[in-house]
Amino acid sequence: MWNMKQLEYGALARRANQIKDELRQGVRRPYKEVIDVFQGDLHRAGMKPLTFVRQILAACVYPPLINSNNLPLDVRQRAQEELGRCVGGSVGSYSAVAGIPEIVHSISEFIKRRDGGIPSHPENIYISPGSQWSISNILNVLVNREASPRTGVLIPVPCHHKTVLSITQLGAVTVPYYLSEEQGWALQVEELQRALESAKGVCNPVALYVINPGNPAGYVQSQKSVQEVIRFAWEKRLFLLADELYQDCVYGENCEFVSYKRTLSEMGPPFSGTVELASFHSVSKGFLGECGLRAGYVELVNLDPAVMKHIHTLFSKDSCAPVLGQIALDLMTDPPKPGDPSYPLYKQEIEHIRAVLVHNVKRVHEVINSLPGFSCPPIEGGLFVFPRLNLTPKAIQKAKELGLQPDTFYCTRLLEEGGVFTGPGWEYGQKEGTYHIRFCIAAPQDVMEELLRCLSSFHMTFMKDFS
């Protein structure tokens, strides 16, 4: 499914960059700038980094700032603390393989707090340059390239592209399970069962990859749903890979993020002591949005100690994650508290981001569902919307003529004419004969309004042109 259009992959991004260059050079277009919501990149879309985080990073990078009265006291103290944990007192030295030990400990405390007191062991945590890095490493251990039949990994449809690439590049096979669009992209165990059946004679499925909250589909699994998946993984002997990058992005009423780790533990034996679980998180999403710093972590539960030794060696040859990213992880998992000088501003900034996201998901849902041939369920969580396009046969025909997937055709036109850079649904996977687009909903409100204005205007024209 994903190998087919290798030529198209990246073409849209290249064109977006070209248009951005042209606009910079003063070329006239129907819009002044490209609204780039292709990736889950808060800063690119115009959201601001957290002041606290950036002040501390600056002081760690250039320690004379620690003596500067221009920075709040708690910032200076925290920077001093962070530097004290770095070998030689510099962010330029390598850290231990799994990460700076105090930061790894901080992450384990964060996990414990988040999960209602369920302990998290620092020796089961590895910090890496972004979550995809540790997903790749864990997949690498799981995938036996020489095995026959080939190793299989169950993945959701739709699914963001990177993990799929990792799986196929390791020589493993993806086994797609379809999320139910009619049920707000819910994960249904019967569908997991069907997917597993379909793998018989094709590959040997060893792992189940879940994304909660979802990407690109914005669902948030209920605790019951998480339990069902864990039970399924236990019954069918599957290694659970839980991508939980968007755990801070939950908007839906009656929606709550419950971690796989917590649920597994609360389910008790036989599940809690046997299901092998890798949970992933990162500084790229949530309120920090620090994609460019490249830092994430994996927590490994119930793994064979002998295998853990090899996992350690595998991470060790990568040296370590960037130290600035590690510090950002520490700030994410151990933020300012009430009473700290930086707390009021920190709280204000977090609440502002949250308010923007809550507002945006409402507006996006409203606008999209008001347009003919465009629909999407309520966005419960995550940073994207994945609306469905009901393209007319005429539009589909035109796309075919141009040698493009129908949703790529739509996205291309939307970029050229509307100045909005979005991703075509086929890149994420979708049921045959359905079309979608994906875009990030984390943008300042005025940018989002402009986006929705351009999108609506373009969409109406497009639907008219191909009616």
Partner: protein, 491 residues
């Protein structure tokens, strides 16, 4: 409720076991952070807890980490990076104008003017352009195309990526990769992980670790029996050996690569670390092009550099790049896909790289301080290189080749037969036994030569020359005393 009783399902074994896991991963080793380092960390913990030992600190001379050993960062670089991290500082008069200009330029090239935004997978375009200009300047004007430059998460990341592109085939057709012995164990680790065939070619210890084409040929011909040799890796200046290849040698290697149709991987991360008189860094790219179009139009090559070594020593930023030459366009398309999986290299590392290739110029305010700091670091390293060679060669049983470049010494140690036997008894490789003893008795952490590869029956260790000069003198003295003691004990 017993496990067997639940749903009548039998005892559920683990999915991921030593038997079911990727067999290649089991073969991966990385001595630089291996068992001896783990023991060193344990000892550090014990010292913290107040356990009495014959020393008060563990000196970690195992890893090429300059800042860990007290080397100071370059002020200008850190000023610009601070400005990039917290742009409000652009209003702060304490930062020099040239630093502010650099920061503004970098931020303008970032999404949303933030180093927190993803960059393209290949790396920020204006930084790649700056890298290309740096390469052109370094190589006497030979053109460099920014499209052939891929920024990476340290040089290691790029090395592994290029190897991934090159390794293919099954059985007798499996790709063979030539690597020097001794080598930097990232290569052996990556080759094990990829299931590639490692082809060892021995550097000549008796001739200052030089590279002989006859030895390359021998290794290649032997390898052709059981694999498909496609790649030749060379580390220059060398790690762990510190040799700096002569220009003639580089020409010979390029000639060899052309004749034998091999892809050249030139690891040049220590290119500014050249100390010995009469030695000079010659980039593979420069020599290739100076050999004329017959070579420069055909030999496929990848050259690697990093921000972790040289005079900046910024390992924690994970900055680096690879320049590819004569790569097939379809292969380049695959390369783009490969690097896209991990999204992009760390943006602070990209920014740092930009400063390394675009440092203060003579007419800029920060120039004087920059040059002072850079010169101080490099001359200190040169002095320590000389000192290390000198002192080690006074120890009976230790012979040390000149440390011409890089950051390490790889002396040969003569071990008494009784020591070798004792090591065997304990199930340890002899130089691991030696290094473990040194660690336990003196708190000095080195890496045994077996972690890098060495000729059968010879033993070595790798030590960094990074501790501050005074401390280094003490370390050298302690190793000297240890070696004499050890030799005495097992005589």
């Amino acid at each position: 409720m017993s496990q067997q009783a639940v749903n009548g399902v039998a005892h559920r074994g683990r999915v991921l076991t030593l038997d079911s896991m990727n067999p290649n991963v089991k073969r991966v080793e990385y001595a630089v952070r291996g068992p001896i380092v783990q023991r060193a960390v344990q000892i550090e913990k014990e010292l913290k807890e107040g356990v009495k030992k014959p020393f008060t600190e563990v000196i970690k001379a195992n890893i090429g980490d300059a800042h860990a050993m007290g080397q100071k960062p370059i002020t200008f670089f850190r000023q610009v990076l601070a400005l990039c991290s917290y742009p409000a500082l652009l209003e702060d008069s304490k930062f020099p104008e040239d630093a502010k200009k650099r920061a503004q330029r970098i931020l303008e090239a970032c999404g949303g003017h933030s180093i927190g935004a993803y960059s393209t997978s290949q790396g920020i375009e204006c930084i790649r352009q700056d890298v290309a200009r740096y390469i052109e300047k370094r190589d006497g004007g030979i053109p460099s195309n920014p499209d052939n430059i891929y920024l990476s998460t340290g040089a290691s990341d790029a090395i592994v990526t290029i190897l991934k592109l090159l390794v293919c085939g099954e059985g007798r057709d499996r790709t063979g990769v030539m690597i020097s012995i001794p080598q930097y164990p990232l290569y052996s680790a990556a080759l094990a992980d990829l299931g590639a065939v490692q082809i060892n070619y021995y550097l000549d210890e008796d001739n200052c670790w030089s590279l002989n084409i006859t030895e390359l040929r021998r290794a290649l011909n032997a390898a052709r029996e059981h694999c498909n040799p496609r790649v030749l890796c060379i580390i220059n200046p060398g790690n762990p050996t510190g040799q700096v290849q002569s220009r003639q040698c580089i020409e010979d290697v390029i000639q060899f690569a052309k004749e034998e149709h091999l892809f050249l991987m030139a690891d040049e991360v220590y290119q500014d670390n050249v100390y010995a008189e009469g030695c000079q860094f010659h980039s593979f790219k420069k020599v290739l092009f100076e050999m004329g179009p017959e070579y420069s139009n055909t030999v496929e090559m990848a050259s690697f550099h990093s921000t972790s070594k040289c005079y900046m020593g910024e390992c924690g930023f994970r900055g680096g790049y690879v320049e590819v030459i004569n790569l097939d366009p379809e292969v380049k398309a695959q390369l783009i896909k490969l690097v896209s999986v991990r999204l992009c290299p760390p943006v602070p590392g990209q920014a740092l790289l930009d400063l390394v290739v675009n440092p203060p110029q003579p007419d800029e305010p920060s120039y004087a301080t920059f040059m002072k700091e850079r010169t101080a670091v490099l001359s200190a390293l040169a002095e320590k290189a000389r000192l290390t060679e000198q002192i080690f060669n006074t120890v009976p049983g230790i012979t040390c080749n000149p440390v011409q470049g890089a950051m390490y010494t790889f002396p040969r140690i003569t071990l008494p037969q009784k020591a070798i036997d004792k090591a065997k008894e304990l199930g340890l490789v002899p130089d691991m036994f030696y290094c473990m003893r040194l660690l336990e008795e003196d708190g000095i952490c080195l890496v045994p030569g077996s972690g890098f590869g060495q000729r059968e029956g010879t033993y070595h260790f790798r030590m960094t020359i990074l501790p501050p000069t005074d401390k280094l003198k003490v370390v050298l003295q302690k190793i000297r005393e240890f070696h004499l003691r050890f030799t005495q004990e097992f005589s």
